[in-house]
C-alpha cells in the first residue's frame, strides 16, 4: 500500500503491522534529548522508575541551553543536575557551556539526528529535525523519562497534511516567511495532532537552514511535527562529514494518502510579520511598516543559523543600529558563532552597534539576555509572540525573518529590507 514518509518511518520502528491513522503504536526511538528546563523533572522520574541505565548511552542528549550559561542560582542548580546525571549514567552527548548550542541547531549539526530516525525531545521545537526527513516530536518530561528508560515511545498514528509550494520566491522572502504565511492561513491549531509535510518545487530549492526554520515552526500550527523529504543535493550534502551513524532515506509514495493537500503559490508572498500575540497573526510587511521598535532579536532555534547571520550582515554592513534600538544577535551554536567570526560577520555586527551573545535560548522564552520592559516592543526572529513571552505582560513581540529584523533595527521601526538596501 502507498505510504507517506512518516508512515514508512514509523513502520520501520514498530512491531505493529498494518497500522492505520488513529491507531496507537509503540515505536523504537533513535535519539532522545532534554534541556535544562525539561531534564530535571525527567531525571527525577527516571531515577524513581527503577531503571538502572539509559537505553543507549550514545543516543541520549543533555543540552543546557535555555537558562544557560546559568542566569541565576536556581538555573545553575538545574544545569548541575544535568551534568551530574550525565556523569552518573555515562551519557556521551552532554554539551557543556563552550560546546553547547541551542539543541535543535546543535543536534543536526553534530550528526546525532538523521534522516529516517524517530527522534523524541523534551522540547516543543524538536520538530526542527523533521527538515532532515526524520520523524521528530516534542514531548514533556515524563515521556522523556520513559524513553530514556525503555528506548520506545507510545504514539497515535497521525494524519498528514501535504503543503505544496510552487512559484518563485520574491527577494528577501525566506523559509521564515513561508512558514509564517502558512500558519496565518491554517491557524495556530490548523494542524493539531497532524503532520505537516512540506513539499513542492520551492522546497526542493530551499536551503537546509531555511528548511530547519520551516519545520521548527510546525508546532506553532499545533502539528505533531513537520517533515521534508530528504534529497541528495541539499540533505545529503549537509550530512556529509556529520552523520555519526548509518541512516535510511524514506520518501512519500506519489499515491500516498493525505488528509488534505494545500497548494501555496509563493509568487505573491511578501516578507511576513506576525503581530502580537499569536504566530497566526502574520501580515505582509507592507501592512506592518512604521511600527516603532525598542529591540530586535536575531537568533533562536528558528533563525540562529549561519545563513540567517549572513543575511543580517548583508543588511547591516556599513550601517548603524538606530540609537534607540537594542539589536541582540545570538548565533545558535558555537560552530555557527566561529564561522560567523571567520566570515567577518561578527565584525559587521559589532561595528554596526549590535550586541553579539554566546549561544542561548535566552530572550526567546523570556529567560534573560534581552527582556522587554513594560510597553516595549520587539521585532524578533524567534517563534512565539504570546503575551509576556519575552518579558513584561504589556510588551509586544512581532515575529519576522532575520532580514526584516536587521533592517528594522537600523531604522528603529518595522521596515522591509528594501528600504535599507
Amino acid at each position: 500500500m502507498a505510504k507517506t514518509i512518516v508512515e514508512k518511518i514509523l513502520s520501520s520502528h514498530t512491531d505493529t503491522n498494518n497500522f492505520k491513522t488513529g491507531d496507537i503504536i509503540k515505536a523504537r526511538v533513535d535519539f532522545t534529548f532534554a534541556n535544562d528546563i525539561t531534564a530535571p523533572i525527567a531525571i527525577k522520574y527516571f531515577k524513581e522508575s527503577g531503571a538502572r541505565q539509559v537505553f543507549d548511552k550514545k543516543r541520549v542528549g543533555l543540552i543546557p541551553d535555555h537558562f544557560a550559561p546559568n542566569k541565576d542560582i536556581k538555573s545553575a542548580e538545574q544545569c548541575k543536575l544535568l551534568k551530574e546525571f550525565a556523569q552518573e549514567y555515562e551519557i556521551e552527548n552532554y554539551f557543556e557551556i563552550g560546546k553547547m548550542g541551542i539543541e535543535h541547531a546543535l543536534l543536526p549539526e553534530k550528526g546525532l539526528v538523521l534522516p529516517g530516525d524517530v527522534v523524541v525531545g523534551a522540547d516543543s521545537h524538536t520538530d526542527t529535525s523533521g527538515a532532515l526527513g526524520a520523524f521528530a516530536i516534542g514531548v514533556g518530561s515524563t515521556d522523556l523519562a520513559a524513553v530514556m528508560a525503555l528506548g520506545e515511545v507510545w504514539l497515535k498514528i497521525p494524519p498528514t497534511i501535504k503543503f505544496i509550494y510552487s512559484g518563485k520566491l520574491n527577494k528577501w522572502v525566506s523559509g521564515k516567511d513561508l512558514i509564517l504565511y502558512t500558519i496565518s492561513k491554517i491557524g495556530v491549531d490548523g494542524a493539531n495532532y497532524k503532520i505537516m509535510e512540506f513539499s513542492g518545487e520551492v522546497i526542493k530549492r530551499l536551503s537546509m537552514d531555511n528548511r530547519f526554520t520551516m519545520c521548527n515552526m510546525a508546532i506553532e500550527a499545533g502539528a505533531k511535527t513537520g517533515i521534508i523529504e530528504p534529497d541528495e543535493k541539499i540533505t545529503l550534502e549537509y550530512l556529509k562529514g556529520r552523520a555519526k551513524r548509518p541512516f535510511q532515506i524514506y520518501n512519500s509514495d506519489p499515491d500516498a494518502h493525505y488528509e488534505k493537500i494545500i497548494e501555496i503559490d509563493v509568487n505573491k508572498i511578501e516578507p511576513q510579520v506576525a503581530f502580537p500575540h499569536l504566530p497566526e497573526n502574520a501580515k505582509p510587511i507592507s501592512e506592518a511598516k512604521g511600527i516603532k521598535i525598542d529591540q530586535s532579536i536575531i537568533g533562536s532555534c528558528t533563525n540562529g543559523r549561519i545563513e540567517d547571520l549572513r543575511i543580517a550582515a548583508e543588511i547591516l554592513k556599513g550601517q548603524q543600529v538606530h540609537p534607540e534600538v537594542r539589536l541582540i544577535i545570538i548565533p545558535a551554536t558555537q560552530d555557527i558563532y566561529l564561522q560567523a567570526i571567520r566570515e567577518g560577520l561578527v565584525d559587521v555586527f559589532i561595528t554596526a552597534g549590535a550586541a553579539v551573545s554566546t549561544p542561548t535560548c535566552g530572550p526567546c522564552l523570556g529567560g534573560y539576555m534581552g527582556i522587554l520592559a513594560k510597553g516595549e516592543r520587539a521585532i524578533s526572529t524567534t517563534n512565539r509572540n504570546f503575551v509576556g513571552r519575552m518579558g513584561h505582560l504589556e510588551s509586544e513581540i512581532y515575529l519576522a525573518s532575520p532580514a526584516v529584523a536587521a533592517a528594522s533595527a537600523i531604522l528603529g521601526r518595522i521596515v522591509s529590507p528594501e528600504e535599507v538596501k
Binding site: I24, I37, I41, Q78, G140, D143, A145, G366, F386
Partner: protein, 169 residues
Amino acid sequence: MIIKGKVWKFKDNIDTDVIIPARYLNTSDPKELALHCMEDYDFEFVKKINQGDIIVAGRNFGCGSSREHAPIALKTAGVSCIIAQSFARIFFRNAINIGLPIFEFEGIADQCSEGDLLEVDTVRGIIKNINKDKTYKSNPLPAFIQNIISLGGLREYVKEELKRREKNV
C-alpha cells in the same frame, strides 16, 4: 472516579507561557510552580480557586511549549480536571502522563458558565452540569491510554515494563 468541582472558564489558545510563565521555570518544585499558575491571565487565580475545581476552555488549550510544569502547576494549584473543545497535543500527553484527567467536548465553553458545578465521571467521560441540569458525553480515551491512567500514569507503566523486561532476560 467521580470529580465534582466549580467551573473556571478560559478562552481559546491558552498557551503554556500563560499557564506558567518561563520566568518561573528555574525551578521544578510543584508547590512553587503552583503559586504562579495562570498569574499572567488572572493574578488572583491561585487565591480564588478551591481544591477540586474544574477548568473549562475553548480551542487549543495548552498550546506552545512542551513544559510539563504547566499541567503540574494546574494540578498542584487544585485543578482536578480540564474540559476543553480541544487541547494542544503535547499538553494532552503531559496531562495524561501526570494523571490529570482531561476531556475534549465540542462547544463545552458555550455550555457552561463560570461557577457552574460539574460532576465528571472520568472513566466513562460523562460530564454533568448540575446547575444547568445537562449531561454531555465526551469520547472515551483509547484503551492503551486508559491502561496508563489505570496504572496511575506513565511512570507506573514504565516501572511495570522494566520489571517485565527483567523477567524476560
